[in-house]
Each structure stands twice: as C-alpha cells, then as structure tokens.
C-alpha cells in the first residue's frame, strides 16, 4: 500500500487474539479501514505483547517484549494502530514507564539489545476513528445508519485505566465509544457496568470468576434496554460472547445479547459487506437481531 494514496496511514499491531479467537475484530478492522481509506500496514514479525500474564509475574519481561515490538514497529511508517485493548494498554504502559524510569529503561535496552523506542505514538482504533479520522467525516461516510439499534458500550478496564497512561478519554465518565456509535446512527444506552471488569484472563484458570462478573455486566446491559453490547477487547468479547450460554445456564437467565466489536458495528454502517465482518463466527448469533432492525 503506497502511503500517498491514503489520507491516513498507520502501522498495525493486531495482537495474538486477532489472528485467532478474535479474528472478527481483525477482519472488521481491516474492512473498515479499507472503506474509509485508512492505510494499515502490519508490523512484520510482531510477537506477543505479554498481555496480563507477563506483567503479572515478570514486569521486566513484559516491558522488554513490548519495547521490542515497538522497535519492530519503527520500521513501518505512521503511528501504531492497535485494536486490542490489552495490547494497547501494555504498549502505552511500556512507553510511560520507560519514559519516567531510567534504570528500567537501561535494563530493557540491554534485554532487547536496541534503544527503547519511545517516540512512536500508539493509538487505539477508537482514537483513530473519533479523533484522527473525525466524527463528522465518519458520519458523512455512513451509508447505512444503524437506526433503531440500542447499544450498550462496554469499555472494560484497560481503555481508560490507570489514569495518565491510556489518555484516551475521561477516566470515570468516558464518551468516546458512544460518540463513535452515535456518529454512525446507533442509539446508545446509559448503563451502570460500563467500566466494570469482566474477569479478563481468569477465563482460563478460574472461569467461575468470569461467570459471576460477566453475568453482572450482561444483566445490567439487559436492564438498561440494550439490544447488544459493544466491546473493544478480545478478552471481554470472549467472556461475554463465548461464555454467555454457560452464564445463562448457571444463573438461570436468558440474555441473547450479541456482542459486537466496534469495527464490526462501524463496518456495518459504512458499507463493509456483512460477509466480511466476521458475523458468522460469533457464538451468540447476531444475524436475527440485525435482520430485525433491517441492517443486513
């Protein structure tokens, strides 16, 4: 992709989940960027950022992995676009720590045998859509407004916390997801569990935790009248989507709430063909809802 043809160009770091369990996120992100003429060039040979398991038990490893990935990203022109909230959080945290801690920076530079690349701007897809591309332009690019769809925007933990690191939006009352969704014509609901944790990677080791926490989220979204939930993180998606049936069984409730990635929803609105949005691989089938709202 030559840089000159597109208005915006980014280096792209998909992260491990986007190539497997969250492939819908990757497909829809690429689809949206293609339609909006946003250039995405995947960083060659990127590897796992370590996510939560790495920083939980070995901070130096986590910082080193991310620093090396940032250093690989230097080879590609443009700011670094990240879709997965966890990867976004780790990359930004790494830059934040290394900027402020000389001793750590030296250790990391020794580990990766390269200087620590702190200059590359790391941006989440939400920022790119809302700020770089612009909400007005996004609204203008809509070919099928998502009218009639009531969406609960779920931020989860890592998009806005801890304060001073992601710097995406207000920590306790963010509106960036709602702004993007409103720009594409959807109705967003006010609900209480926007920022509560879903249980994250306990899905592997202690799924009981995930069942309890994710149930509270689903319950709150349903009570607020939402038709579906929007997420920006593969793990949140997994916990709310893949485990939804199990939650319904354990707590004897019925939700039937499809869980969408932001780019799937935006893609639907700006004209990405429905077959190229990964809708068919989701565990909670979104097709009946979309058909009902005449969005297919």
């Amino acid at each position: 992709m030559t840089a000159s043809k597109k208005l915006l160009n980014y280096a792209y770091y998909p992260g491990c989940s986007l190539h497997a369990s969250a492939k819908e996120y990757d497909i829809s992100t690429r689809g949206v960027c293609k339609v909006l003429k946003i250039g995405l060039e995947e960083v060659p040979d990127w590897f796992c950022c370590g996510a939560t398991p790495a920083h939980n038990v070995d901070e130096l490893l986590s910082l080193s992995l991310c620093a090396k990935n940032l250093s690989l990203a230097e080879e590609v022109e443009g700011d670094l676009a990240v879709a997965c909230a966890a990867c976004f959080s780790r990359l930004k945290t790494t830059q934040h720590h290394l900027r402020n801690n000389d001793i750590q920076r030296k250790q990391v530079e020794t580990a990766i045998a390269a200087p620590a690349p702190l200059g590359k701007k790391v941006k989440h897809m939400l920022e790119i859509l809302a700020k770089d591309y612009g909400l007005d332009k996004l609204a203008a690019a809509v070919t099928r407004p998502l009218t009639g769809l009531k969406v609960a925007c779920y931020y989860g933990c890592l998009l806005t916390r801890p304060p001073d690191v992601p710097n995406l939006d207000c920590v306790e009352a963010p509106t960036i997801m709602e702004d993007v969704l409103n720009a594409v014509g959807a109705e967003t609901v006010a609900w209480s569990h926007r920022l509560e944790c879903c249980g994250a990677n306990f899905t592997l080791s202690r799924p009981g935790v995930v069942l309890q926490l994710s149930n509270a989220i689903l319950d709150s979204a349903k009570a607020a009248g939402a038709d579906c939930i929007l997420v920006a993180c593969p793990l949140c998606h997994g916990n709310l989507d893949i485990r939804q049936k199990e939650i319904e069984g354990v707590y004897n409730v019925s939700y039937g709430l499809p869980i969408f990635y932001i780019t799937q929803m935006v893609g639907l609105a700006v004209g990405v063909p429905a077959t190229r949005l990964g809708l068919e691989s989701m565990m909670v089938n979104p097709l009946p809802l979309l058909k009902e709202k005449n969005l297919l």
Binding site: C170, V171, E172, A173, S192, A223
Partner: protein, 665 residues
C-alpha cells in the same frame, strides 16, 4: 567620639560555663571607642538593668553593646532600659554569645576567642548606628468587615459595642451567610436561625454599624490605620429607605420558577425576591437576568403594586469610598462540588459518583435545607427526584477531603459532626428510616462532640460502616452504593433512596481576587494565610488586616465565633491608641541614586513601596523615584538586597553597619 559601654552577661551558667566572660570584658575594654566594659551574672534582671542605666548616666556612654543571649530574647528589654536612661534605644545592640557561641561549642578557649570577636564586631557596628526616631501613624478608628456571616456579625457587634464605627459589607442581598441555611446546629441541636436572627437584627439596629448589603469591595488603598476602601453598592432596583418589607411585590411577580440559591436550587423564588423570609435587611432585590422588565421592557407589575413606591428600575450601582483604620476579612466558605472539572484543573470531580448528575445524590447543605423548617419542603426529608420520603439514606464522609488524588489533602473538620447530626435529624423526622454512614475516621474533638457522635450510633440507630465508597450508580429509582466494610473485611452494596455526600469545605469563589485587592497572602487552596499558625492566628502578615472564620480554614461555629471576637480584640488594640507607633527599622530610599526601576516594589511583600515624583521649581517632572511608606514597611530588607543602584537601605541595617562588622573580623 563614641563612648561605648559593653556589658557581658554570664546568663547564669549558660554563657559563663563555656565562655570566659571576664576575659571577654577585659579584652573588649581595650578596643578603641570602648569607654566602659564589665560583666554581670544576669543582665536582663532588675539589678542588671539598673547597672546598665547607672553606667549610662555615670560614664556618659553614647552607645551600648550587651553581649548576652539572642536579640530575639531580650533586645526589647535592653532597648527599653536604655531608653529609660535617656539614650535612643537604637544606639543599643546585642552581641549574641549564647545561641551563637556558648550553646554550640564545647572548647572553652576557642569559644572565648570567638565571643571576643563577636563582641568586637558589634562594637564596630554600633559606632555606625544612628538615632532612629519612632514612627507614628494616625489611626482612623473605623473598621471594615468583609462578609456578613456569623464571623462578620460577631466581629461587628464586638467592635461596635466598644463604641467604634463598623462598616459591614456583604455580597448577598442578606446577611447571615451559611449559618442561616442550617437547620439545627451541633452539639446542642439549637435551631440555627433562632440563635442567629437576634444577632442579625442587632447588627441592622446598631447605631454604630453601617451595613452595605448586596455590595462588594471594589478597591482597597492605603495602609494600617489609614485605608481607603471603595465599595460597590450593587443596584437592588429597590430603594432601601422607602421599602417597608411588606412583600406584595414578591407575591405578584409573574416569574416564579427561578431556582433559589439559598435553598440549594431545590426551592423556587420569584424575580423580585428576598433570599429567605428572615432576611436582614428585609428589602428585596430584582434579579435583572431573569426579570421580564429588564429582559423585554414589559411587565413592571412590582412597581405598580408597591405602596411606598420603592421600586426603581433606573437604579444603578454606586461606588462609595469609606475611610477605615482596620479590615477584618470574614468571607467564609463554600462547598466543593463533585461536578466534572475543566481539563487541567488541580481539583478533580467524582465521576464515580455520577458527576452531580444523579438527582438524589445531594450534598450536606442541600440536606440542611430539606431538614430546615423554613426550607423548600417545610422540613420534610423528601427525595428531590420524585418527592417521596427516603427510607434508606447513605451518608458518605470525606468526599473531596483528605484525597490527594482529587487535589484536596486537608480535612474539612466539620463533616464528621454534621453528618452525625444529619443522621439524628433524619431519625427524628423519618422514624422508620435507616441511615448508613460510610466513614474513615470520626473527628470529634470539641466539647461534648464525641458524646454527640456516639448518640447517633447508640440512640439514633445510625449504622456506621468504617470503609469508603468506590462507586454509586442509578438503578431504577434507587441508587446502588458500592462500598467496603473494613472491620468485617467484605464489600458492601446498599440500595439507597438518597445519598448525602459530606463534601469538602473550600474558600468562597473569588477569594483569591479579593486577597489580591487587599494585598494579603493565601495558600494553594485559596484559604487566607495567618501571620503565625500558632501565635498569631487572626492577623495577616499585612498590617491592619485581620481574619475571622472559615476563610482562614475550615471551622465550626464555636471556633468561628471565638476567632471573630479575637479579631475584634486585635482591632480594638489598634484603636486603643490615637497614634500607631511603629518600630523605625524601615527602609529609606536615597532619592539621588534611585533610577526608578521599581525592582524594590516588585519584591516588597508588604506593598510598602510607592512612586514619588521629583519635580523642579517650575513643576516639570525630573524623575519618578521609589518611596517607602514607613507605616507599612515591615523591615525585611529585601529591597536593599534587590536594588541595583544601592539606593535603598534599611535604617538600623545599613551597608555601612554590616561592612563594619565584617571588617572587624
């Protein structure tokens, strides 16, 4: 030719243990200019001072050096003695051979040599001392009090009862401040307005108190004993002298739904209004922003129905200059709000509590208005959202206070007590209601305070949970409060009908602007700074300006009243003399050398430097130089250090004197 007398004190054993005082006196006696040198056991004692006075008279001494303790201890003592003996007190200096010598060294030989050198330095210095006459400044015996809350009212009454005139300026249409908004006060549960309104009426009836309500301070000029204060009397649109307070205008006003600030926006008021029925003065004000007449030119009903013809739409703000001798600042406090604050603000709001958007989450003052018999609900505790009686109320302490993260690290002092009071008021009015209080600590230091607090738990059935609240959100018509109980070690979730936040106490809006007009210091929170935290709590570093009440720091009513009376006492000390005597250690500008750069004015902490025009005999301007007002100068010497042309010197600390000391070494 100087005849210097040197008196070396033993200070009991304090000096003589380490310094050979007799030898010091002997050696110093040999210095040129020293006519008399002796040592004595206790110079500051009565016989010691007598020795000093006798020596001055018998030996015809011209200058004195007392080698003893620190001048901070006894300089005043010896200067008074010297003055009694007929010598100018500023010809007496102290050589510190205690704090600077005997108390910090152990080797007797070395200490003695050092002591001789110290005394020698002071001998050379004192030769350069000049006679400094005391400065007197006339005093205007009128006091300005800014702020008509309980602090301002108390100070006004105290000073006026002494026979001095008081000018009381209050920003709102009525005096009374926040105390007038309270329902019952701790620790006695007295009705707030019942104890306050008699004082308010005393103020308005007092022959010596001139009340400017609905007025603000425009400008302050001058210095202690001689201030000129310009007051802006804002236009009420009602002629005070004609108004009888009958209230017909308020009844007839067609605009009825303006949120009343006094009722924390819960109650409504008309466009022509008094903030509350017991307002003093009982003269209404027209809110020009919301009045139909002022917005469109139509209506004018109030003027038509006013019997005495007191409504005057043409009225304008007036500026009045009042000369006063002292100013008491009693501007009080305001409550912190949990609203979203602008980006980059040092103080943050509480997004986790809904940023003030949930209607049944209110602050302490709003609860007071609900509980108050003269409030918008007639004293019933009702939910602002739907008017129903709440059966479960959660009170949260320390909202904003003690939270470095939010920008306020101090404790607001009064909230533990008023929350306990709120639980009692709630229990008295809603017998089947349950109050929960989330708290960190209970701060109840006053008289009968802790007993009052215990009563809330033991008799009024409030449930106190030690732990804080992480978040609250609306669920249907209830509010879910997510907190923790650290005594038990579990998380607690309560579905409340109403939540009352004990928000932090902050200074009034505009506190910083007023401080700049007055030239007084304030801290990073905009609380006004006292001159000394322990020993001078009601005075400012700026002479003639005093502090009373919550503007200096969060305070309850007993402490506020005490401080107000204390400030009044300080003012009366000032007014007890016709002329104010000030120490003549002040800066003096050598006009010939001054180039008019005014660097001194920039660094002067007291605002003592003025501009003075030098003109020739024809009246043409030659240059503008600096002039130090001896009445305001604090004698700190910063100007002397700053002046690039060495044209300003501190009398008593001239360059000549200091250089003499250095060269003596």
């Amino acid at each position: 030719m100087s005849r210097i007398g040197v008196f070396v004190c033993h200070c009991g054993e304090n000096i003589s243990r380490t310094v050979d005082v007799e030898r010091v006196a002997q050696e110093v006696g040999k210095l040129p200019g020293v006519a008399f040198a002796t040592d004595y056991k206790y110079m500051c004692s009565d016989p010691g001072q007598t020795l000093l006075k006798k020596a001055i008279q018998e030996q015809h001494l011209s200058h004195i050096v007392v080698a003893a303790c620190s001048p901070r201890m006894h300089e005043k003592t010896f200067r008074k003695a010297v003055e009694a003996a007929g010598l100018n007190p500023f010809l007496c200096e102290m050589a510190n051979i205690r704090e600077h010598c005997s108390w910090v060294h152990e080797d007797k030989e070395e200490a003695t040599v050092k002591a001789i050198e110290i005394v020698g330095m002071m001998v050379e210095r004192v030769k350069k001392n000049r006679v400094l006459p005391t400065i007197t400044v006339p005093v205007t015996k009128r006091c300005l009090i800014i702020g008509g809350g309980i602090a301002g009212i108390q100070a006004a009454l105290d000073i006026a009862d002494c026979g001095h005139e008081v000018v009381l300026v209050e920003r709102e249409p009525s005096i009374g401040g926040h105390m007038a908004q309270l329902s019952e006060t701790f620790p006695t549960l007295d009705c707030s307005q019942c104890i306050m309104t008699p004082k308010m009426v005393d103020v308005v009836n007092h022959p010596k108190i001139k009340l400017y309500s609905y007025s603000e301070i425009e400008q302050v000029e001058g210095y202690i004993g001689n201030f000129q204060v310009t007051i802006r009397k804002k236009a009420r649109s009602v002629i005070e002298e004609k108004c009888t307070g009958c209230g017909v205008c308020m009844e007839k006003c067609p605009v009825r739904k303006i949120p009343n600030k006094f009722d924390c926006n819960l109650g409504m008021r008309p466009a022509i209004y008094v903030p509350f029925p017991q307002a003093v003065p009982n003269t209404p004000v027209i809110d020009r922003e919301n009045c139909i007449k002022f917005k469109t030119g139509k209506c004018g009903l109030c003027q038509k129905v006013c019997g005495p013809g007191a409504v005057d739409y043409e009225q304008e703000d007036t500026l009045i200059v009042e000369p006063v001798g002292a100013i008491v600042v009693a501007t009080g406090f305001d409550l912190y709000s949990i609203d979203e604050k602008p980006k980059g603000s040092p103080i943050k709001g509480y997004g986790e509590f809904g940023h003030g958007k949930i209607p049944d989450v209110i602050d302490g003052m709003t609860f007071e208005r609900l509980a108050s018999a003269s409030g918008p609900t007639g004293g019933k505790i009702l939910r602002p959202s739907d008017g129903r009686e709440p059966k479960q109320i959660v009170f949260i302490q320390c909202v904003g206070s003690r939270a470095r993260e939010k920008g306020i690290s101090y404790c607001s002092k009064v909230c533990c007590m008023y929350t306990a009071k709120h639980t009692m008021l709630y229990h008295h009015k809603v017998h089947d209601g349950q109050a929960y209080v989330f708290f960190m600590d209970a701060r109840t230091p006053g008289k009968s305070y802790d007993e009052f607090w215990r009563r809330s738990i033991e008799e009024e059935e409030a449930v106190y949970i030690r732990g804080m609240v992480s978040r609250l959100y609306q669920k249907g018509d209830k509010i879910v409060v997510m907190g923790s109980d650290i005594a038990v070690g579990v998380q607690v979730e309560i579905e409340a009908d109403m939540v009352v936040l004990a928000t932090a106490v902050q200074p009034q809006k505009g506190a910083d602007t007023l401080a700049q007009k007055l030239g007084i210091s304030y801290d990073k929170y905009n609380f006004y700074s006292e001159a000394h935290a322990k020993l001078r709590p009601v005075e400012c570093a700026t002479a003639g300006i005093y502090l009373a009440g919550a503007c200096q720091g969060p305070k309850d009513i007993p402490d506020t009243v005490s401080q107000a009376s204390a400030a009044a006492a300080k003012v009366m000390t000032l007014f007890a003399k016709d002329k104010l005597e000030r120490e003549p250690i002040v800066a003096r500008v050598r006009e010939a050398g001054c180039v008019g750069c005014f660097a001194c004015k920039k660094v002067c902490a007291y605002g003592a430097v003025e501009e003075k025009e030098i003109r020739d005999r024809q009246g043409n301007l030659i240059k503008v130089v600096a002039y130090v007002n001896p009445g305001v100068c604090g004698g700190c010497g910063t100007c002397q250090a700053t002046c690039p042309s060495k044209s300003v010197e501190l009398d008593g600390y001239t360059d000549e004197q200091i250089v003499a000391m250095i060269e003596a070494l």
